[in-house]
């Protein structure tokens, strides 16, 4: 499969003010090869593919495509030479239908009727059924991605670049996508696959190039390496899997029952009769694709949305009607998904941000006046204990990298020693080392007797730290089940499977 070289990259470098995004990067992609580009956030993967797609010009180095010099000045030129890209964030218009959206992304779109026919033909040929006349606003995330992929396939690409394609998909949808990609590779299309999900790369890719801080630090054949080995190449350090002291779960700490909440936002998902229990010392993982009510559940648990008293109970006492600070006082701490702007104020210093949610439990006010000495001590404590890399606690939150700010936010909540802690996407956009640290800290808190609720889209994360798993789908929560012995397929079915495709299989599984 890897006979001819399709794209060869030699000595590419690219600098931005203050950072060398790519430093002398070289690798080759063979025709029909699925090539993985691996690396942590900020390793330079995105910059590299932007150069291949003509969005950014390299400072140094050269590229050749099928033996000819390749230096695209703009994406249009890259597309005309057979290079197509599916972005992590979709560029689709909700109010237009599938065919219209596809036409907008093409350089020379054919007449609409002909285009609709071709969309149907291509999408079915590759196992990605799409109705060209449906409005994009009505499609699921997986279906939207199909629109982007079909748009690329219509241009008959030689190289297809996919940037983190599975972050919005359920496991079943991932399987469908992989089927399509394997079929494309078998037909001779090369695929450059960017991800940090190592199990996926093992399952799909022929070769992998690993980037760290803008440099190539290794290549490997993913099938022959363990996920752990690849992760260590990415991070450049030995990783320890989270461990926890075995302990019997205690009495029930948090009870949620019949929790129905109308979403405060027009495009949000309302919660419908959510119910679960979490015991002391237990970790409950709530999985689901983003936009299925995670934000609303978080707001209802933090107290930013108030409900009837008995819908949320702490140690059997109704707290649904209480606001965030009253709940903190009682022992419920939360860490929302959006770090800048929700969990932390971007322009405020770390000390001020420590006060933001820590004032109640850490007793940082006296008669309404702020105890800055105590606040600074608490902030210093968080920075030190959670290894937050910052020049000092006077630094504005927005100046911290995503991973460091996340460590600060999680540290701030955990160090208040809550009895119940709820976190949403605790390791989203955080590098592997920091993610391992955060997961360990959550497990330690559980071992110390707290009830922990982890809302996450990352199934691997939930499997790693949660005792029980429940799926959130369109505002409904499934019955929590023990994670031990749970397979990825079962989780996929709980998450609702692949939208609009696998209903038949779901019925099968039940019968």
């Amino acid at each position: 499969m890897t006979g001819d070289v399709l794209l060869s990259i030699e000595g590419i470098s690219k600098s931005y003010p203050g950072v060398k995004a790519n430093d002398d990067v070289s690798f080759r992609i063979g025709a029909g090869e699925v090539h993985a580009l691996l690396g942590e956030n900020g390793a330079g993967k995105s910059t590299l593919v932007k150069m291949i797609y003509g969005l950014v010009k390299p400072d140094e180095g050269r590229m050749t495509l099928r033996g000819a010099t390749y230096a695209p000045g703009e994406p249009r030129e890259a597309r005309s030479l057979g290079v197509a890209m599916v972005f992590q964030h979709f560029s689709l218009f909700d109010a237009l239908n599938v065919a219209e959206n596809v036409a907008l992304g093409m350089d020379n779109p054919p007449p609409m009727r002909e285009l609709a026919g071709r969309i149907r033909e291509v999408s079915e040929g590759y196992g990605l059924p799409l109705d060209p006349s449906r409005l994009v606003g009505d499609l699921s995330a997986g279906e939207r991605q199909r629109v982007e992929i079909v748009r690329c396939l219509l241009q008959d690409p030689k190289l297809l670049i996919m940037d983190e394609p599975t972050s919005v998909l359920t496991p079943q949808e991932v399987n469908i996508l992989f089927g399509t990609l394997r079929q494309l590779a078998a037909e001779g299309t090369s695929i450059l696959y960017i991800s940090h999900k190592l199990e996926e790369i093992k399952a799909l890719c022929d070769e992998a190039t690993i980037l760290r801080r803008g440099k190539v630090v290794g290549t490997c054949t993913p099938r022959e390496k363990s996920a752990r080995e690849m992760a260590e190449m990415m991070v450049g350090a030995t990783l320890n899997a989270p461990e926890r002291a075995a302990a019997e779960p205690g009495p029930v700490a948090l009870t949620v029952s019949g929790l129905s909440v109308a979403s405060p936002s027009a495009f949000g998902t309302s919660l419908r009769a959510i119910g679960f229990e979490v015991r002391q010392g237990e970790v409950l993982g709530i999985g689901g694709v983003a936009g299925n009510g995670q934000d609303e559940l978080m707001l209802a648990l933090s107290g930013e949305i108030r409900t009837a008293p008995d819908t949320v109970k702490l140690h059997g006492r109704g707290i649904g009607h209480l606001g965030p600070n009253e709940r903190r006082k009682d022992g419920v701490c939360t860490a929302p998904e959006e770090r800048l702007g929700h969990a932390a104020a971007p322009d405020m210093s770390l000390a001020e941000n420590a006060f933001l949610s820590g004032s109640v439990r850490k007793h940082l006010t006296k008669n309404g006046f702020i105890d800055w000495t105590g606040t600074r001590a608490f902030a210093e404590d968080v920075v030190k204990t959670f290894d937050v890399r910052t020049p000092g606690i006077g630094t504005a939150a927005r100046a911290l990298s995503g991973g460091n700010l996340q460590k600060f936010v999680l540290g701030r909540e955990i160090m208040q020693e809550p009895e119940v802690i709820v976190v949403n996407q605790p390791t989203w956009g955080v590098d592997a080392a920091a993610a391992a640290f955060i997961r360990q800290a959550l497990l330690d808190r559980a071992s110390a007797g707290a009830a922990v609720v982890v809302i996450s889209q990352d199934i691997d994360e939930i499997m790693e730290i949660a005792d029980r798993f429940a799926a959130l789908n369109e505002g409904r929560l499934s019955e929590p089940v023990p994670t031990q012995g749970l397979t990825i397929d079962q989780i996929g079915l709980m998450l609702g499977g692949a939208h609009g495709m696998h209903e038949a299989e779901v019925h099968h599984a039940h019968s």
Partner: protein, 363 residues
């Protein structure tokens, strides 16, 4: 081509450098405008900024005027700055100022001609309450019905102006005034008058109140949890809700503080420098205070300095009209330029300007 690059943290230097740069740019552009009008720009700038303080002929009159004019500006601007920081836009301080003056004067006149120590303190309370209650109209409409406080507070200025006209022609008209509009002169009613405390300085109770307000708001913003909540709500509304701040409570509190302070300013003005309720009592302090608040970077100490500077342009502007025959519209344009330049150069504190050519050569 220039590139604007967001700074990781706001520049401390430019946070204080921008107002100074704005003043300099205003002098340059204003000088050009004066030159186009056929006046000597240097003389005009000197007349506005220098003569009121140091010219032997005018300073004796102008210097006390500085505090008299700055006090209401500072009082109102401090109140507005608290709301502005929280993202609550009270644009109607002028109306609250008028209502404070009417209520304060009405209480004083109700006791006329009785002499008693408690009359003036009672007027102070009435003035503050008058402005506060007037500000509660947009505040409650906003919290209950989601109306826009900018529109409601602004439109209430015109309502207040009509009440002012009605009062000076009717209810509060001086019965011994020979039918002329306007109330009795409070300056001639010792128990109600806001006297100059130290002769020849312009220092009256309003000036004292302005200084106290500056210090109090500084402490509020630096040390008190309410000040923290105000800043948080303005910078990151979602984080404020996460921190347990109730947006409605903040709207009521901020509108109450800004309305109350504007009412106080109006009361001190009517009992002191103005002396009486009249149709043309208000001269736009409530609107100019918006400029003062931003020129002072919504910071109490900054507002103190900006209030003094703005008062100087008022006095110097009058002097320039009188001495050089500059049209009053030119002076107002000059003051407007100050806000314009301030907002324009403000982006330097959050962005740095880069010239792409130079970057490449530097490598």
């Amino acid at each position: 081509m220039l590139i604007l690059e967001r700074r990781p943290t706001p520049s401390r230097f430019w946070a204080w450098g921008t107002p100074i740069l704005a003043v300099i740019l205003t002098m340059i552009a204003g000088g050009l405008m004066f030159a186009i009008l056929g006046k000597d720009p240097f003389e005009a700038i000197r007349t506005i900024f220098w003569d009121p303080l140091f010219n032997a002929q005018f300073a004796a009159y102008s210097r006390p005027q500085l505090l008299v004019k700055a006090a209401p500006l500072i009082l109102i601007a401090i109140g507005l700055s608290l709301g502005f920081r929280a993202g609550i836009w009270n644009i109607g301080a002028e109306g609250q100022y008028i209502m404070g003056a009417i209520c304060g004067a009405a209480v004083g006149l109700a006791f006329y001609p009785m002499e008693a120590w408690f009359i003036f303190p009672l007027m102070v309370v009435a003035g503050a309450l008058g402005g506060l209650i007037w500000a509660m109209i947009p505040a409650i409409l906003k919290t209950q019905f989601r109306t826009n406080e900018i529109l409601v507070s602004l439109l209430l200025v015109y309502v207040a102006e009509n009440i002012l006209a009605s009062m000076s022609l009717g209810l509060l008209r001086n019965p011994e005034g020979g039918g002329f509009p306007g109330s009795r002169n409070l300056g001639q009613y010792p128990s109600a008058a806001n006297h100059e405390l130290i002769a020849g300085t312009g220092m009256h109770w309003g000036v004292v109140a302005a200084f106290i307000t500056v210090i109090a708001s500084y402490i509020l913003l630096q040390r008190h949890i309410l000040g923290f909540q105000i800043k948080l709500a303005g910078q990151a509304p979602r984080a404020a809700r996460f921190a347990g701040v109730s947006p409605n409570r903040l709207v009521i509190l901020c509108m109450a503080m800004s309305g109350g302070l504007a009412g106080l300013a109006g009361m001190f003005e009517v009992a002191g420098p103005a002396g009486q309720i009249s149709i043309d009592f208000n001269v736009g302090y409530g609107f100019t205070a918006i400029i003062v608040a931003f020129l002072g970077r919504l910071n109490p100490v900054g507002i103190l300095l900006a209030g003094l500077l703005m008062a100087l342009t008022y006095i110097g502007g009058e002097l320039a009209q009188f001495m050089l025959g500059l049209p009053s519209a030119a002076i107002q344009a000059f003051q407007g330029m100050l806000l314009f330049f301030l907002l324009a150069v403000d982006l330097l504190s959050n962005y740095r300007i880069r010239v792409p050519l130079l970057i490449k050569e530097a490598r």
